[in-house]
Symmetry: C2
């Protein structure tokens, strides 16, 4: 049934499907029009069974793969979705990216990853690049952009954003319960008998950092433990600030039996500071993190933390995007915060 229209090119077939074979060649081989091939490919109209058969065979024999570039130009859809993240090499975003990639690829979309460098202007620029590339939608992980900017963006193409709660047409948001997670962690420390719990804050530019602090404060208040401002040390979510924080606490001789860092990276830094000063963990001081990064499993001692499901978040975000793209309403259910207790926390030994 299939007539080879041209001699096979130099490197044909399965190994190199992306070249040369066009929809026209498939159409000719199957003896139908290109329009029909297109319709079959896109399921965009009813086509008779025999033509479908012929076309499918031709596609198989020729090793045809549609050209997304041409598709993008003609149809307005590129089957690609932009993913803007703060950085490509963060232990936390890494797993989210992995989740997004897996899910998007499975849904037939190609992700375009680009980083915003923790900087709103860069992020804005990244989004321009993505739009110039005609992505069909944009997933923004903890974007720096304002709510308004995001809502405006959603007027042009579907948007899913993590790290905040936002209601708008054509937009889905995915927000982890940072408040609840932090409260749970603080509660646990309180249950262990700790009363002097230091808190290392995150970058205040981040909504989640603020939420975590609220959770810490909330738990204390609920239990009638007065919050001591000297116990709240500013951090920036990076390791060195965690180390600095405990060093400062120690130097100023502020009493504390536990430290709760707003993220694992700072908790790791805190662990190092305590080690340097020969303060043993958890015997003298307990340390609690937040995020439950992979590395926390191998810190010394292994770090107790609030599990943030990075991979799962990525998956959910990608699935929400698929839904939006297909005109469905995404239903989002973020996993509840879960405490992971390892060896860096213990009962309070102090009087």
């Amino acid at each position: 049934m299939i007539r080879r229209v041209k001699p096979a090119p130099a490197s044909p077939g399965a190994g190199d499907p992306a070249r040369l074979v066009t929809i026209d060649m498939v159409a000719r081989a199957a003896e139908v029009s290109p329009s029909t091939v297109s319709r079959i490919l896109n399921g965009t109209a009813v086509v008779s069974a025999d033509k479908i058969k012929a076309v499918e065979q031709a596609i198989r024999e020729l090793g045809y793969v549609p050209n997304p570039v041409a598709r993008g130009l003609a149809g307005g859809r590129t089957l690609s979705v932009g993913v803007v993240t703060q950085t490509l090499d963060s232990p936390f975003y890494g797993s989210a990216l992995r989740g997004i990639e897996a899910e998007l690829l499975a849904a037939g979309y190609t992700p375009l990853f680009i980083s915003g460098q923790w900087n709103e202007r860069e992020e804005q620029h990244s989004i321009s690049v993505l739009r110039a590339r005609r992505v069909d939608g944009i997933i923004a992980l903890d974007a720096r952009l304002s709510d308004e900017a995001l809502i405006a963006l959603a007027r042009d193409l579907p948007v899913v954003v993590t790290g905040r709660s936002l209601e708008a047409p054509n937009l889905a948001s995915l927000c982890f319960d940072n408040f609840g997670g932090a409260r749970q962690a603080t509660d646990y420390l309180l249950d262990l008998g700790h009363r002097r719990i230091a808190f290392i804050t995150g970058d205040p530019e981040h909504q989640d950092a603020l939420e975590r602090q609220r959770g810490y404060l909330g738990a204390l208040a609920e239990r009638g433990v007065a919050a001591d401002p000297r116990l709240i040390i500013p951090g920036d979510y990076r390791e060195p600030s965690g180390t600095q924080a405990v060093l400062r606490l120690l130097k100023q001789r502020v009493d504390f039996t536990a430290v709760f860092a707003a993220n694992d990276q700072m908790a790791l830094g805190a662990l190092l500071g305590l080690y340097q000063k020969h303060v043993s963990v958890p015997q003298q001081v307990s340390v609690m993190g937040f995020d439950d990064l992979q590395v926390g499993q191998y810190s010394i001692p292994p770090l107790s933390s609030v599990h943030q499901p990075g991979l799962e978040t990525g998956r959910l975000a990608a699935r929400a995007m698929s839904a939006l793209l297909e005109g469905r309403r995404p239903k989002l259910r973020m996993p509840t915060p879960r405490l992971v207790v390892r060896e860096s926390t213990g009962r309070c030994a102090a009087p």
Copy 2:
């Protein structure tokens, strides 16, 4: 000079340059033909100064951004390059990806990241996806593909590959001196007086793992220290295998005063195993890693390691790709291995 051809669209200008404004609109505004605009944009022919001026002004006023999708279809170049990595969330590849992104973007290319999942078939598939997207070139980080497959690929588009040495037209390779690095690390341990140095191997599927082992063996041989097979423990580059390795050594009561892990992740695992068994580092046992991951700075104790310039490797790879793309010969000079001594290594205390 500029006549607005149409009333500005709903959301025009700087905020949303990627829409609506086409090369035709620019041409009309500047009173030249689209061809001329294209030529100016691409520097593909000499154009009179006044037209250049008019076009540039029109571009500015209209906020025109060329559509890479259309460009890709028409010109055959998409100004995008595919980057295949094993995984999006490895601490090591992360910085390489970051370096690639920065350099590629600066050169006017958009990177398309995709992961191969440590699996040749997946990798092959990822490359198909990339080719279907008509990337202009492919950067493969430590690809699993055979030399032959890579060389074949390079017949169709420029390829740069890291992690191996390969000579072929249209292909550049970038290989870190794993042998030298490992030898240097072992030498250092030897200098500290260690003679019973355990070695945790990497995944033998990786060329670099083999090289590192050769370096270890080479250094011992050079100094006339007999290699004890019981000191060579198989690992797989992941943390748990590092922990298992030292636990096994301890359990079998094999004598050792230092352990050299083929990568930092396993070294971190080893640190944990030693901690669990109350072996103090570096007082009783020294630990040396390889890669110099960020996290190593915050391990306890901070990890001595061989610095692998991930970021720099990414940069170099991207620059090599730019060169290839512009028909220049890339000149590659990998940084030499450099030992980073921190606190996990110390003088041998044993007799």
